[in-house]
Symmetry: C2
Subunit: 158 residues, 2 copies
DNA sequence: CTGTATCCGAGCCGATACTG
DNA sequence: CAGTATCGGCTCGGATACAG
């Protein structure tokens, strides 16, 4: 018998579990940044720009719990803590790239569909309004680009 | 030529936008079910099993707004409404498969990491407790399997 | 610098009741 | 059958203050 259909039960939970982790507001961005190499707490904080230290701590703690990042403390003064992707964390970048490619290449189409839909039903309030993620400051971030760019099926020459 | 580094600003927003849509509790499951072909409202509702009609409506409305599914009304009595993935919606399955493959093949490792972490810090409450998605009933759902199975890197034989 | 603790608003999501 | 409306709990996530 083919390998398919084997454990649908557990399988559909699997993807939900993953989305419960990376589906939140900040996780993918952190992973993307970290994919370029280890970073310190405030380095992440500054680069992202719109995250509170509370959420950064929580996000990192969650990733650490799942074995996706390591937390290394240097007992110096002032203290220094490095966060780095584990091997497992690195592998996550692959499917993330796939998603990233889809997102970038289809965003215009989605935006158009939304406008068309909203125009057709002006009275109905939008299902779920945005969750705006503040843009990173353009300055210090070829990092994020390397992280997800060069994905398959993503973009042609531009 | 590498097209990289071109529009980092817009790009990191792109992936966040996508996650804002598919990162919620039900969307991927609906897309997975729909990937096998059109389905009616209550058919989806029954198959998923744990979703309220409110959330199913909202989820479908959101997908429709983004141009990922179409809603077709048959003005019969009783009324009948079919939901179906658009071409754009179909393309989403590709990156979803990628994620699905990663999820299934790494879930044991993640679970282990969590246990280890929780064992090491018994007092600290978990960052974000679960978001349990009720399992689909095993009965009528080879559908979901076809949707995401045969993904690359996912599973070898067996 | 790297966190933790607390307060608080906003939204998600389920339960229930009602309509065409 | 396929929704809409309304209520209420709960969680997410920002702001602020404090600690090692």
């Amino acid at each position: 018998m083919e390998p398919s259909h084997s454990d649908v039960h557990g399988d559909c939970r699997a993807i939900s579990d993953v989305l419960a982790r990376i589906g939140d507001k900040w996780t993918v961005m952190v992973v993307g940044l970290l994919s370029d190499g280890p970073m310190r707490f405030n380095e992440l904080r500054r680069t992202i720009g719109g995250i509170s230290q509370r959420m950064l701590t929580l996000t990192l703690r969650g990733l650490e719990r799942d074995g996706l990042v390591t937390r290394t403390v240097f007992p110096t003064i002032p203290p220094r803590v490095d966060y780095e992707l584990t091997d497992l964390g690195q592998t996550l970048i692959v499917p993330l790239k796939s998603l990233f490619a889809w997102a970038t290449s289809n965003r215009p189409m989605i935006a158009a569909a939304q406008q068309a839909f909203d125009a057709a039903t002006p009275n109905t309030p939008v299902p779920h309004p945005p969750r705006q993620v503040p843009n990173l400051q353009a300055a210090r971030l070829p990092k994020m680009a390397q992280a997800f760019d060069d994905a398959p099926g993503g973009r042609n020459g531009r």
